[in-house]
């Protein structure tokens, strides 16, 4: 059998016997892909970030452990196989796994309509990163071969150790002094380490026993390759990207700040509202993010509400609601500052691009709404109320008072309610839930627990044909927002007020952020 035929023979054998592991890895990739292309961070994002390199290491180490390089008691060595053919087959196997990983990267980038030039840059960078991980993994398998067994039981321990090592390396890698050393190393050294690493891998298959020199040199090459990987993935520390001048919208001052976290690749744009008016609702309506690549190509994506995350306890609503004859100021929550935060969440997607992104252009619309009372009724009551063609029903449940606060279960239905905005989310429903206390004052409540929440989203026309309902538990906690002087027992006998926001102002903004 010729050398090339032997390479193909061993390679094919590995594919046939390890297809379940490869399939598992592909599934893991698919799962991680959903995280990449998804607009929001998926629950399994953290899991796949560990499981994916773990699965990668598992199938590579497993294949190498089966046909170990040390030659005294390995099966392949008792067969007429050339050691360099076996080593080449193993390298091909590693490359195949790398290519599978790269395919997902290419698909993700095509999904984001990345131009060809930027695609080549991004794929090249990613390929280098994956190889800088793959070759040390292969080396780990060869140099620790005395501690591996063909059944792979100990190999799993090695995989676990590798993941822990990666965590340690990543943690250390973020330390600035270490990063300075890593960045100071010339790129040529990394390339030499890579080439040397491949040569040492092939060499280790030709030896009859483990060589301390080859093992030591392999460790040095592996560390250099890992350093290159760390240097590539942590280019800069988080730094402010840009800050636009504050603008005034309906007497409220809105300031923009943007912060890019290079470690995660995410960007946070925060809109800080100051001097907000009582009874006003400030909300981001729509937004467009345009990513400009270094080759000039650009892509845009619509920012919906899913792109926004609201910090708990900071509703995008002015404190209090202007109610007839009510003094809302005295009962206002203690934190009058409200803010919006847009978390540009392509962490994986931006990481894929590495340095391919040149600028980010952000266009969005800020709306202000005036809240208008549309219904007022006592709790423990069902009261249909019509306002502007919308029927509102409030069905209250039990109110329980304990030492620290009051808990009321409330169900509200709007039949049908045409909202003046495009988006319907939980915070809007919450914003309309206001209690009028028995003394005539009002108190905005922030539900701590929302249950059975249901809402729709879409254009106003679409939404207008739906029935929206919200069921949640309202908890008035003396430690959270409620006036400590409030007689909690009296809340149970208070009235429920439902207010509907009406559009007052629409302002469009534009900001541009250059990538550091």
């Amino acid at each position: 059998m010729t050398w090339s035929a032997q390479v193909w023979h061993v390679f094919r054998k590995d594919l046939v016997t390890r297809w379940t592991g490869i399939l598992f890895f592909a599934v893991m990739l698919l799962v991680s892909m959903t995280d990449v292309v998804s607009a929001v961070e998926t629950p399994w994002a953290a899991f796949s970030s560990i499981a994916l390199p773990g699965a990668f290491a598992g199938i590579v180490i497993g294949a190498i452990a089966t046909d170990q390089p040390a030659r005294s008691d390995v099966f392949w060595a008792t067969q007429p196989l050339r050691p360099d053919a076996v080593a080449t087959a193993k390298l091909l196997y590693v490359l195949l796994i790398v290519l599978i990983a790269m395919t997902s990267t290419v698909v993700a980038l095509r999904y984001f309509h990345v131009g060809t030039a930027a695609l080549i840059t991004a794929v090249g960078g990613r390929l280098w990163l994956v190889l800088c991980y793959a070759i040390p993994v292969a080396h780990l398998a060869t140099i620790s071969i005395d501690r591996l067994d063909p059944n792979g039981r100990r190999a799993r321990i090695v995989v676990l150790m590798l993941v822990l090592l990666a965590v340690v390396v990543a943690t250390i890698g973020r330390a600035e002094p270490v990063m300075q050393v890593i960045r100071a190393l010339p790129t040529a050294l990394y390339v030499l380490a890579f080439l040397g690493g491949v040569a040492l891998f092939v060499r280790s298959y030709q030896l009859r026993e483990r060589s301390p020199f080859v093992s030591g040199a392999s460790i040095v090459c592996s560390l250099l390759m890992l350093a290159s990987m760390v240097a590539s993935t942590t280019p800069d520390r988080a730094a402010p990207v840009a800050a636009a001048a504050p603008v005034t919208v309906d007497s409220a001052s809105v300031a923009f700040t943007a912060l890019r976290d290079s470690n995660t690749g995410s960007m946070r744009v925060t809109l800080n509202h100051a001097d907000v008016q009582a009874g006003m609702l400030y909300r981001l309506a729509t937004g467009t993010l345009t990513v400009v690549m270094r080759d000039g190509s650009r892509m845009s994506m619509l920012l919906g509400s899913r792109w926004m995350s609201v910090r708990p306890g900071g509703p995008r609503q002015a404190p209090g609601i202007a109610l007839a004859g009510a003094d809302s100021t005295a009962r206002a929550p203690r934190e009058p500052t409200v803010f919006d935060e847009i978390r540009l969440l392509p962490p994986a997607f931006e990481r894929l691009r590495q340095d391919s992104v040149s600028r980010l252009l952000l266009d969005w619309t800020l709306e202000t709404h005036q809240l208008h009372e549309v219904a007022r009724f006592p709790l423990r009551d069902t009261l249909p109320h019509r306002d502007n063609g919308a029927e509102v029903q409030c069905i209250s449940g039990e109110a329980k008072v304990d030492g620290r606060g009051l808990e009321i279960e409330v169900n509200v239905r709007w039949l049908p309610l045409v909202l003046p905005s495009s988006w319907w989310d939980r915070t809007e429903a919450m914003g309309r839930s206001v209690f009028a206390l028995h003394d005539g004052s009002a108190m905005t409540l922030t539900p701590l627990v929302a249950r059975s929440f249901h809402s729709g989203k879409g254009t106003p026309d679409q939404f207008g044909r739906r029935v929206a309902s919200a069921g949640y538990t309202l908890r008035v906690d003396t430690a959270f927002g409620a006036n400590p002087d409030t007689d909690l027992a009296s809340v149970a006998t208070s009235q429920m007020v439902v207010a509907v926001p009406r559009l007052r102002t629409t302002r469009r903004f534009h900001a541009e952020f250059g990538m550091p």
């Binding site: 059998m1 032997q6 023979h9 054998k13 046939v16 016997t17 390890r18 089966t66 046909d67 030659r71 005294s72 008691d73 390995v74 099966f75 060595a77 008792t78 067969q79 007429p80 196989l81 050339r82 067994d149 063909p150 059944n151 792979g152 009859r208 026993e209």
Partner: protein
């Protein structure tokens, strides 16, 4: 023509442990050559050096006149190697293993493989990782025999096998060797089994060569002497330095010595044991030969160490 020629071979593990010291031996082509010795004698290391799985520290191994270090013995000389330490790929079924190695061997005998599989009672659909120790050894033997090697090195091939299978293998090996002229170098602790098939033997002890040659020649070379003393027990200072494996039990004394040694001559024996009721001089069995030579080597090593 010698199939294997070992010339002054020494091997040192990790530069500290001497496994073999200046071994020189030959394995005649077509012979079934036994390699015996206690644990740690260096049998496996010697076999691995012959198979090219280890390189000698000094000395060399010639396979059909070619240095094993310069050619790949397994490819070049159709060498089969079987060891209890070898682990078949655990994730592969036996059928997959056969499919994998068959194309690598030009003389692969599919019929023999099928026949061995049947006689060993092996299920080809089972993965090697699930086989018991005995089954694993049988599968490994199948993989070593089916390529019809011209030179077969076997390291403890009977491990984990029952008597019936052992018997089958022994008969199979003999038949195969006779039919194809395969040279077999076999290391085993199963001396009873080995004695029935080998025609040559090499005995190792603590990495040194104790004896090597044709079985008949070795038996001819040594003699087992048994002396039954008369009513007066045998006195204490009756041994000679050339006697090996001296054992006393009541009035009975036995030892082994070189057949050519003058002390074994009848008149000398008569002089030494004048009151003996019976003196028997016979050829030793392989087991006796091995045990005596190995113990003697141990004794010498201990003396050297204490000195």
């Amino acid at each position: 023509m010698n199939a294997i020629e070992v010339q002054d071979l020494s091997y040192r593990y990790r530069r500290t442990v001497d496994a073999l010291h200046g071994i020189t031996m030959t394995v005649t082509a077509g012979a079934i050559h036994g390699l015996i010795g206690p644990n740690g004698a260096g049998k496996s290391t010697l076999l691995q050096c012959c198979a090219g799985l280890r390189y000698a520290t000094t000395g060399r191994v010639l396979l059909s006149g070619h240095d094993a270090r310069r050619v790949d013995p397994i490819s070049t000389h159709a060498l089969g190697y079987l060891s209890e330490a070898i682990r078949l790929p655990p994730k592969m079924t036996l059928a997959q293993v056969e499919r994998f190695i068959a194309p690598l061997h030009p003389r692969w005998d599919a019929a023999l493989a099928a026949s061995l599989r049947t006689s060993f009672g092996l299920d080809a659909s089972r993965t090697c990782g699930t086989l018991s120790r005995g089954e694993h050894m049988k599968a490994a033997m199948l993989c070593a025999l089916a390529p019809r090697p011209t030179l077969l090195l076997m390291d403890e091939p009977f491990t984990g096998m029952d008597v019936l299978v052992k018997d089958e293998i022994v008969r199979g090996l003999l038949a195969g060797a006779l039919e194809t002229g395969t040279t077999i170098l076999i290391a085993s602790h199963d001396l009873a089994e080995l004695e029935t098939i080998i025609d040559h033997v090499t005995i190792l002890g603590r990495g040194r060569l104790l004896a090597s040659g044709a079985m008949e020649a070795l038996r001819e070379r040594y003699r087992r002497v048994t002396v039954v003393a008369g009513p007066a027990a045998i006195g204490a200072p009756v041994t000679e330095a050339s006697w090996m494996g001296v054992e006393r039990a009541g009035r009975r004394l036995s030892f082994m010595a070189d057949a050519t040694h003058t002390s074994l001559r009848a008149e000398v024996m008569q002089q030494r044991f004048p009151d003996a009721e019976q003196i028997t001089i016979e050829e030793p069995s392989l087991r006796e030969l091995f045990a005596t030579l190995a113990r003697d080597a141990e004794r010498h090593t201990a003396l050297e160490t204490s000195a």
